[in-house]
């Protein structure tokens, strides 16, 4: 009895947090799920019932396989457990099949794979130093970070209500970040390479990884003033990194290369025919661009400057996924978005190269890459904001300025996820959870840094200030997005 008591009340708060959120996830099992549920059921069916050569060609359902091969193998592994729950879900012809056992299996698979995310958060907590913390457990940075990551509202509603498998993928990313903090660069690189072959959306942050590893790992030493020392270049390290990436890619794409299916796979992974904006606009720059185009076209029609017959019938606000032409402003091509994204990430990448500040600098660059890609990317989902929010949590418990930015980013980012859950029964759940998370994050970070107003950003000694105001998206019935402004980070390497 006493042993049980020690195990229960022994102060293992991390397990308590992880268990608590797992129980909450179990309660969310019967809630609304989106078409992503059918997507993953379909992929279970495809990978289970068909041979590998058919995986990227199968098109019975509209939800074709558009994730890289590792994810397909993951679904294949899951399907072997699925057959014990309900054999019928593995039939490719059973479109929209969602028996109670299927639902139970799929939900539990998400909850189960979140174990990797929990482990990654545990590792990230080790990278936080809690020296300036108070004595109270709930005021320690490790505790606050664990809550902000494990109980993250966005991740909860996207994974466990809307239904996706982001938990373990973010676990991989956070784990690779943690490994880089712990100076285990090879493992970090390996984990990131694996992650890329699970979900290629993480290409958004690949530049940060590439530049950081090249600059801070392959060049083993710096000159006294911090700039690059060219003769410290280590070929061994470069080659080993290259080898890791090559091996992982070979493992992933090798079978499809052998089957001569690489073009097909790539076309499935990068569906540029899907259009500039997703059905629900992500609150990024192109949403503003579209809105401006619409406004101008309306004005143009009113002032009789435009010919009504020449305007394309399909409009961007109709909620469909198609390619469109803009009416007044020049149309945007994928190449244009790529160029805009590259221009946006250039300052932070330059800073990472010329004035590296260790893992923290890398993390800032990663966040900025994620944000830039979110703002200027092609066919961005609003869920992509999580790519910036979750790593930002790591920075938020470090410095007060980062905490302020994090609060703005996370609150608006989470609010922009609201349209994902549009059903009536989920309304109280999402509002309550959002309120709880926002209240907790504000109060805990405020207590940690004791700033009077979270709008003040303290000047830091290294001089890198980031001021970000993310768009606050209104309900998608109007499809309007408000102002977004991103000022590039100021580095001391550049003249003011």
């Amino acid at each position: 009895m006493a042993a049980l008591g020690i195990a229960m009340g022994g102060g293992n708060w991390f397990s308590a947090l992880a268990l608590g959120v797992t129980l909450l996830k179990c309660l969310l099992i019967p809630t609304y799920h989106s078409t992503d549920f059918e997507v993953h059921r379909n992929w279970l069916a495809i990978t289970h019932s068909l041979p590998v050569s058919q995986w990227y060609y199968e098109a019975t359902s509209e939800w074709t396989l558009d994730y890289p091969p590792f994810f397909a193998w993951f679904e294949y592994a899951l399907s072997h457990v699925a057959k014990y729950f309900d054999q019928e879900m593995l039939n490719v012809r059973n479109l929209n099949y969602s028996s109670s056992r299927t639902l139970l299996f799929q939900r539990f698979s998400v909850i189960f794979t979140d174990a990797l995310f929990v482990y990654a958060v545990h590792e990230c907590c080790k990278c936080i130093d809690g020296k300036k913390a108070g004595k109270e457990l709930t005021e320690k940075p490790k505790f606050i970070l664990s809550v902000l990551l494990l109980w993250n509202f966005g991740l909860l509603i996207v994974d466990h209500i809307h239904f996706q498998y982001n938990g373990f993928l973010f676990g991989l990313m956070l784990l690779s970040i943690a490994r880089l903090f712990q100076k285990r660069h090879m493992e970090g690189a390996f984990l990131f390479a694996v992650l890329l072959h699970f979900k290629h959306i993480y290409l958004y942050v690949a530049p940060a990884y590439g530049v950081y590893l090249l600059r801070s790992y392959c060049f083993t030493a710096n000159k006294p003033d911090g700039s690059i020392r060219w003769n410290s270049f280590s070929f061994v390290r470069v080659i080993s990194l290259g080898l890791i990436v090559f091996l992982v890619s070979a493992l992933s794409l090798g079978p499809f290369l052998a089957l001569n299916q690489l073009p097909q796979v790539l076309s499935r992974l990068f569906p540029f025919k899907r259009g500039l904006c997703h059905a629900y606009w992500a609150p990024n720059f192109w949403a503003l661009y579209n809105a401006l185009d619409k406004v101008l076209s309306i004005i143009g029609l009113e002032l009789k400057l435009l010919d009504p017959n020449k305007i394309p019938k399909a409009s961007m606000t109709s909620g469909l996924v198609q390619q469109f032409q803009h009416t007044v402003l020049p149309s945007v091509t994928p190449l244009a978005t790529l160029i805009c994204t590259l221009i946006a990430i250039l300052p932070s990448v330059f800073c990472l190269w010329f004035k590296p500040q260790g893992p923290r600098g890398f993390l800032r660059c990663l966040i900025l890459c994620a944000l830039s890609s979110f703002l200027f990317g092609w066919h961005v989902h609003e869920k992509a904001i999580l790519l910036a929010v979750l790593p930002m949590s790591l920075l938020s418990v470090g410095k007060a300025g980062d905490a302020s930015i994090f609060l703005i980013l996370t609150t608006t980012g989470h609010y922009s996820l609201f349209p994902l859950l549009f059903t009536a029964p989920e309304l109280p759940t999402k509002i309550l959870l959002m309120l709880l998370f926002t209240t907790y994050s504000i109060s805990s970070l405020k207590t940690l840094f004791s700033v009077p107003s979270f709008k003040k950003i303290k000047e830091k000694k290294d001089g890198r200030d980031l001021v970000l105001l993310l768009p606050v998206s209104l309900p998608k019935q109007g499809g309007r997005a408000r102002t977004s402004r991103e000022l590039p980070g100021r580095c001391t390497a550049f003249p003011a």
Binding site: M1, A2, G5, M8, G9, L23, C26, L27, A424, L427
Partner: protein
């Protein structure tokens, strides 16, 4: 979801047509439903009109109904719990918060109110306000709140005797010739006035009042209905009392058993009124009523659970154990409503919250269980009686294992053809045994509290 009827009926019937009440709860429930019906009409008149026929349930309407429960909870029950925990003495703020969290996490109330759909939190909240008022010496407000509770659900009468005895005891202590008598008169007036106010619309015709009373106390329905963790139901496994004994005799023996089992605690409370004794007497009284009374429903265990939640900070181990058993006793009902997953999740969450907040497994010594004076008295006759806390720990382990096994069996297996109710009966029987044990335990605490009671600072 059948409660949605009430809205339409109350709304459609005029004040004079009081014969058409489908309800067997007192007037305050009716007024609450009428209020909700007005709000529903404001939002969407279809919900009221269409409910003359059964079964129609749109998602928005369901959301509305569930929200009314939440609002009632937020306005009445939750503030009472928070205020109660704030008023607890001699514990740190952190423990107060943990206490409030554990009380609010009690699975039984959450599952019945939000899963099964009822408004128990209103009547329990009012009763809690009553307990608060009376403990903090705001006797009139406390008794007013309790009258509101009784007029919301007549089952709150289970708690009425302790209130009566405690207040009477207070009056006696103040002296029946002076202040005490004044207090007695004031209390009587408050109670009568609140009852009159609630029942005014029904007092127009004598027949109406009798009809409502007959609905509130359905003595014709027999000793028990369906499966409940009651003495009578468990006894009828061995001997079918319902068929053997005549009807009026059933009422008499039920009354006698109930009365006899709660008499000692109530007499003690009248003679030595204390806040602690009051709360424990609430527990034992409500438990006596639950075990021995007439026409008890499984949900009535919530009336016992509320006082047990109030003593959670004093005897955390036994209270947690009781609250787990009380949730388990409602298993057949919850399974019917397909609430298995919420049941498991909330029970685990509650258990972990209590176990970590109160370190219950370290508090199983005799003194912690408040059995010290009892075991000292027993040791005068039986010197070897030293294993009490060990025994209780083993009993707890056996109990938890039994409950988990029974839950698994009920969920996975099918009952045999000849005994289709086997599992529910087993659940009720096991729960009944637990409740008898707890009845004895709580009575022991009350009766053997005399020595420490004299030394304690008494509430004036």
């Amino acid at each position: 979801m059948e409660c949605c009827f009430f809205f339409s009926r109350y709304f459609n019937s005029s004040d004079n047509n009081l014969q058409y009440w489908g309800l067997d709860y007192p007037p305050l429930t009716a007024y609450h439903s009428l209020l909700c019906a007005y709000v529903a009409k404001f939002i969407n008149p279809d919900w009221i009109a269409l409910h003359t026929s059964r079964g129609y349930e749109s998602q928005a309407h369901k959301l509305f109904m569930r929200t009314t429960v939440l609002i009632a909870d937020l306005l009445i029950y939750i503030p009472a719990v928070v205020l109660y925990c704030c008023c607890l003495k001699e514990i740190s703020t952190k423990k107060k918060v943990a206490n409030a969290l554990c009380i609010l996490l009690y699975p039984g109330l959450i599952l019945i109110d939000y899963g099964h759909f009822q408004y128990n939190s209103v009547s329990l909240g009012f009763a809690l306000w009553g307990v608060l008022g009376v403990s903090c010496d705001w006797d009139l407000l406390g008794s007013l709140a309790f009258c509101l509770a009784i007029n919301y659900k007549q089952m709150e009468l289970y708690h009425s005797l302790p209130f009566f005895c405690f207040l009477l005891g207070k009056c006696f202590k103040k002296g029946l010739k002076g202040k005490g008598f004044v207090l007695l008169i004031k209390l009587a007036c408050t109670v009568v006035a609140s009852f009159i106010l609630c029942w005014l619309p029904f007092c127009t015709e004598r027949e109406q009042t009798l009809q409502v009373l007959r609905r509130l106390f359905p003595v014709d329905r027999g000793l028990f209905e369906d499966k409940v963790a009651n003495i009578w139901c468990s006894f009828s496994i061995f001997l079918k009392i319902k068929e053997i004994l005549p009807h009026h005799f059933q009422i008499i023996i039920s009354f006698c058993f109930t009365f006899l089992s709660l008499l000692p605690a109530c007499v003690k409370l009248t003679l030595q009124p204390s806040s602690k004794g009051f709360r424990f007497t609430l527990v034992s009284c409500a438990l006596s009523f639950f075990l021995f009374s007439f026409q008890v429903h499984e949900k009535s265990i919530l009336l016992v659970s509320l006082p047990v939640c109030l003593v959670l900070s004093e005897i955390p181990f036994m209270s947690t154990w009781f609250l787990l058993v009380s949730t388990f006793s409602m298993l057949p009902l919850l399974l019917k409503d397909e609430l298995l997953m919420p049941l498991v999740v909330t029970t685990i969450a509650f258990f972990i919250a209590c176990a970590t907040s109160f370190s219950i497994f370290e508090k199983t010594s005799e003194e912690e269980l408040q059995l010290k004076s009892f075991s000292l008295s027993v040791r005068k006759y039986l010197p070897c009686f030293t294993f009490l806390s060990r025994i209780i720990q083993y009993l707890f382990l056996i109990s938890v294992i039994t409950m988990v096994l029974l839950t698994l069996i009920t969920v996975t297996l099918d009952p045999p053809q000849k005994l289709p109710d086997l599992f529910s009966v087993l659940v009720c029987f096991v729960s009944c045994l637990h409740f008898l044990f707890f009845l004895v335990y709580f009575n022991i605490i009350i009766m053997w509290d005399s020595k420490s009671g004299r030394n304690q600072k008494k509430i004036n």
